[in-house]
Symmetry: C2
Subunit: 225 residues, 2 copies
Amino acid sequence: MPGIDLAVSTVIFALRPCADGAARVWLPLVRRTRDPFAERWALPGGVADLDESLSATAARKLFETTALQPAYLEQLYAFGEPDRSPTGRVVSIVYWALVRAEQAEASTVDDNVRWFEADALPELAFDHNLIVDYALWRLRTKMEYSRIAHAFLGETFTLSELRQVHEAVLGKPLDPANFRRQVESSPAIVRTEQHVTGGRHRPPRLYRYDADIELVDNGPLSARS
Amino acid sequence: MPGIDLAVSTVIFALRPCADGAARVWLPLVRRTRDPFAERWALPGGVADLDESLSATAARKLFETTALQPAYLEQLYAFGEPDRSPTGRVVSIVYWALVRAEQAEASTVDDNVRWFEADALPELAFDHNLIVDYALWRLRTKMEYSRIAHAFLGETFTLSELRQVHEAVLGKPLDPANFRRQVESSPAIVRTEQHVTGGRHRPPRLYRYDADIELVDNGPLSARS
């Protein structure tokens, strides 16, 4: 009797510059080498392992294909429509994570692993276009009420760097003066006494996130792997 | 070779009065009739069905045991630690929903189905205490930035009714004047020109939620079952 197969996949976002110089959201995809959907691009992942937690499987599969090791993976959603795979029922538990541009640069890239701009994807295997759209929507929603932009930045950052992250994620330019006002009234973002080092006449001030506010607050699940 | 079994469970919250008259968060549980955890209470649910979407299975199992039909079910989380069931690997996709007190009153109650106060549960089967804690955390978090309290109320409601919902969910009394100020500055809650009907000298005004704001915004998944 056929059963339900369980798979684990991961959406990893990074901000990387586009041809026009502006940063955009990108993600790595893996080319499928067999049917169904042979030759189509797909999210990194694979079959769930009997002895491993779901997040450990997600992290391992991701590392095996892309050499990426994000600082954390968060569960996104379980996709389980009966018709999402043409060869039998597969429920996919999808994780997501953010990595900084330098980490993205160091990831594997070959004929079968490539980075794509999230807003300009080809037709992917299974329902992976829907999954990426949902992950983008969560990223955009979360930017509004959490310190998630931090995952794309270093320990300290200028207002202009922070604004570029928001612009890349939201896909639209933001007014610098309004943005500065919003940031300066946010309790989560703290002004430091440091400035960017270098020969500039008026070096920009550095900011940091308040470390007392959790990057990802999963409530009672925070302590779990 | 043993595989991974897939289960679907649901946490349904309702606000119901306690012995002291105050409303509290309650949920229905089902007594297990066989091992593992025979006689322990557990969330309504069961094995995923090969031909049915996960949310349809969740709704069907819930109806079969409790006769409850919530207006919507939202996916909460997939629980999949390797050791969460003593008899083999089971991944549970957990849904959650809110129902109004009248709906809760009409649900099945017998020797094997009973409502419990969410903050005073016995030791449940599997990791179901952890699941309920996580669902409560999500409910409390969501109250802060969505119109989720609406699910516990009728079309229109008084400020005092709305405050009682917030007090029940947060588990603490709120200052009526502060609460009124917050509500009156919220764009999601609209003052109507109606008042509670009855013989009172100063009948309280009725409010409603702005219907243009989605109760549950799942982004690109909104249209899915």
